[in-house]
């Protein structure tokens, strides 16, 4: 479990994170959402220790990470895996060498054993046979999957993903989302994801923290978000008419008034019969 307590961070006097607190639990996908410049990435970097917060603390299973120094901090960091927005793969290394890098650095296993582990995680992210390829030879989705394989190769307790779907097509985004969710549940990892992607919010958001201008504006889960009356949140999430319709139908679905299949039919086919007259919309 990760606890964020009253985190504040500013750069050159400009407040970027203002008194944000949250609790992120094991075995679930914890999403930080918000528009560009809302402070999501800064918050995540404060959580992993890439930035030192001006005030507040980050607790990993009750241990204050912000106040840790030296070996203790390094020990916690070894339990963290991170998937970066741009994948952050080492250009001069092949897929296999990239994934093996943490094993080479922190284990004394034989090459055979390390290779087996690399193949195991590459299989887990559906990248069998890509071992000898260089990052420049991979598509955006493949790079993300290699980065995910590298992030989980040491069996981390905490997984951080900074905009895992940026630059990916909707189908590949879905694959990455499901992969993260499966891995989170399978290994009981505390996963924290920064995202703009509304599919991700609805698909995997066990806990959602909505940031607005550096402050925590709303928190809840992917069921509660549909019924939220928070105007800023609704403007951000359901920005288009299509998404508004989707929200309305998901609300009816959640209330058990229509089936998921019927919902999809109505959304995708404009000529489908209207479900309920507009004046009756909740």
């Amino acid at each position: 479990m990760i606890e964020v307590k009253n985190i504040e961070k500013s750069f050159d006097g400009k407040v970027i994170i203002d008194d944000v607190s949250a609790v992120m639990k094991n075995g679930q996908c914890n999403l930080i959402i918000g528009s560009s410049g809302s402070g999501k990435t800064v918050l995540m970097k404060c959580m992993v220790g890439l930035f030192d917060p001006n005030a507040g603390s980050v607790l990993y299973n009750g241990e204050n990470f912000t106040e840790m120094t030296g070996a203790h901090k390094t020990q916690i960091r070894k339990e963290i895996g991170m998937l970066f927005q741009g994948s952050a793969l080492f250009d001069s290394l092949t897929v296999e060498q990239n994934v093996m890098f943490p094993l080479n650095m922190f284990t004394k296993d034989s090459f055979r054993k390390k290779l087996d582990r690399v193949n195991e995680v590459l299989e887990r992210v559906n990248l069998i046979g890509a071992n000898k390829k260089y990052p420049s030879e991979l598509s955006g989705g493949m790079k993300k999957r290699v980065a995910l394989a590298r992030a989980i190769v040491l069996n981390p307790k905490y997984l951080f993903c900074d905009e895992p779907n940026s630059g990916l097509d909707p189908q590949t985004s879905l694959v990455i989302d499901r992969l993260i969710k499966e891995i989170t549940e399978e290994y009981n990892i505390t996963t924290v994801i920064n995202t703009h992607d509304m599919n991700s919010v609805m698909e995997i958001g066990n806990y959602i923290l909505y940031m607005y201008q550096g402050k925590k504006e709303w928190e809840g889960n992917n069921k509660e978000i549909i019924f939220s009356k928070n105007e800023k949140l609704n403007d951000f999430i359901f920005a288009s008419e299509f998404l508004q319709d989707a929200k309305d139908m998901r609300m009816l679905e959640e209330k058990g008034k229509i089936s998921r299949q019927r919902n999809m039919e109505a959304l995708l086919h404009k000529d489908a019969p209207i479900l309920i007259p507009p004046q009756q919309k909740p």
Partner: protein, 247 residues
């Protein structure tokens, strides 16, 4: 104020490099890789420059020595001392600041911008120790060797040009090389090489490691690293000459 801020961050970076490696084998591999890049990667340009500098020194020295009272072997002495004292260490290191220095700055800059350094930090690796220290050690190991090679090639280039242009015969040149030879000159050149090697590796590492922004900033950092390195090399050259050479 920026300059004091930069000096402070530079010193903190140097201090931060000295920590226990997470895995000695990986650090050793990185050191060998850097030795190859800095040493063998610069071998060609150093060889070409050294030979031509020696050759030009011979011709220009002969052009200026017009008196028949001065023996031809003096040309070899002047070329030898000029190459050992100044051309091999200083000129070669200025060229290396461009070749190896810009490579170090752009490599680290690219790693910073593409979040590879952050990825290493998250893994619990001290990036200053893993990325910067091997570069500095490799430079301290390889650049003095390149300077010694440059001395030999410069003197040989001078001999070659002297013979080819008919200024001086090979035997007189060789005789001149042995006359009034001061072994301290080589030691002095090596002291300079070590100081310059530290500048060539640590200054670009500083500018690359702390780069902010994108591709444009990497280019700027690389250029700034080369310019500052060259200025510091010339400044250190003056200080070392004033301190160590008896006048």
């Amino acid at each position: 104020m920026t300059i004091f801020n930069d000096i402070g961050r530079y010193l903190l970076m140097i201090k931060g490099m000295f920590s226990k490696p997470e895995n000695g084998k990986m650090y050793w591999k990185e050191l060998i890789r850097q030795c190859t890049e800095i040493g063998f990667g610069s071998l060609g340009i150093v060889a070409i420059i050294s030979v031509f500098i020696g050759a030009v020194s011979t011709i220009q020295t002969a052009y200026q020595l017009v008196s028949p009272l001065i023996p031809a072997s003096t040309i070899a002495q002047i070329v030898r001392d000029t190459v050992i004292l100044e051309f091999a260490p200083t000129l070669v290191c200025i060229v290396l600041a461009g070749v190896a220095g810009s490579r170090i700055a752009s490599e680290l800059g690219n790693m910073r911008v593409s979040e590879q350094i952050d990825a290493l930090e998250i893994m619990g690796i001290n990036t200053k120790t893993y990325l910067i220290l091997p570069k500095i050690i490799a430079a301290l190991l390889m650049i003095p060797l390149l300077v010694v090679l440059a001395m030999a090639l410069g003197i040989w280039g001078g001999r070659l040009a002297g013979i080819a242009s008919g200024i001086i015969s090979g035997s007189i040149y060789d005789k001149g090389l042995l006359e009034f030879f001061v072994p301290f000159n080589v030691i002095f050149a090596l002291i300079k090489a070590y100081v310059f090697a530290f500048i060539i590796s640590s200054i670009p590492a500083f500018y690359g490691y702390y780069v902010k922004g994108g591709a444009l900033e990497i280019g700027r950092a690389s250029t700034k690293a080369v310019v500052v390195s060259c200025i510091l090399i010339l400044f250190a050259d003056y200080i070392l000459s004033a301190l160590l050479l008896p006048t």
